[in-house]
């Protein structure tokens, strides 16, 4: 009798969603800021995530699973250090000497591939948070 173990395969649905998200990211990242098409391209995922957030509220009580709180202070500390440094940089000048997270992101997004990568990461983070 042969073993029937099969390696887990990515379903066509998942592959199609990833391909669609990447294509959407490429198109959206090709649009220019301060234009209506770019506003619409960013607003669509935001609205979809808003609807998902509404639905999360209905299922939240069922999904309550106890999780560890240990080490949360480390995350708070890292967030605090980041916010303090961001504020110091924001209040200082010139920007070339005191870059903020936004100005670093702007430098990365000065090319289409960089802007595409940032958009895809933003979309993936949103999907990861609101898919439940």
């Amino acid at each position: 009798m042969e073993a029937t173990h099969r390696a887990p395969r990515v379903s066509w649905r998942v592959a199609a969603v990833i391909a669609g998200a990447l294509a959407y990211s490429w198109i959206a990242s090709g649009l220019r800021p301060f234009t209506h098409p770019e506003a619409v391209a960013v607003a669509i995922p935001i609205i979809v995530a808003g609807i998902a957030t509404l639905r999360l509220g209905r299922h939240a009580r069922d999904a309550a699973v106890p999780e560890s709180r240990r080490g949360i202070w480390v995350w708070r500390g890292l967030l605090g250090v980041f916010l303090v440094w961001e504020l110091i940089s924001y209040r200082s000048s010139p920007r070339v000497d005191y870059p903020t997270a936004s100005s670093i992101a702007d430098a990365i997004m000065s090319t289409h591939p960089g802007r595409f990568a940032m958009f895809a990461v933003w979309l993936a983070v949103g999907y990861g948070m609101f898919r439940r």
Binding site: T53, W75, I104
Partner: protein
């Protein structure tokens, strides 16, 4: 060391610390709070859920609609 190099180094240290701690908590997820666990906890709270959504929406709008970094 120039001021800009120092500034970038601070961001690099913060980013490396976040990645390092995220990997550590992922490996030791039975004992420590992971990023995913913290987000799940926040999403269970009715107000925090919308705060998370608003923060994510703000980042996207700020970077892509109002950002100045678009290629020319």
């Amino acid at each position: 060391m120039s001021t800009s190099t120092f500034s970038y180094a601070i961001y690099a240290v913060i980013a490396a610390s976040c990645v390092g701690w995220a990997v550590f908590t992922r490996v030791e997820r039975a004992r420590y709070a992971t990023v995913g666990g913290i987000v799940r906890r926040m999403l269970r709270h009715p107000v925090m859920r919308w705060a998370v959504w608003a923060s994510w929406a703000f980042v996207g709008w700020h970077l892509f609609v109002r950002g100045r970094g678009a290629f020319q």
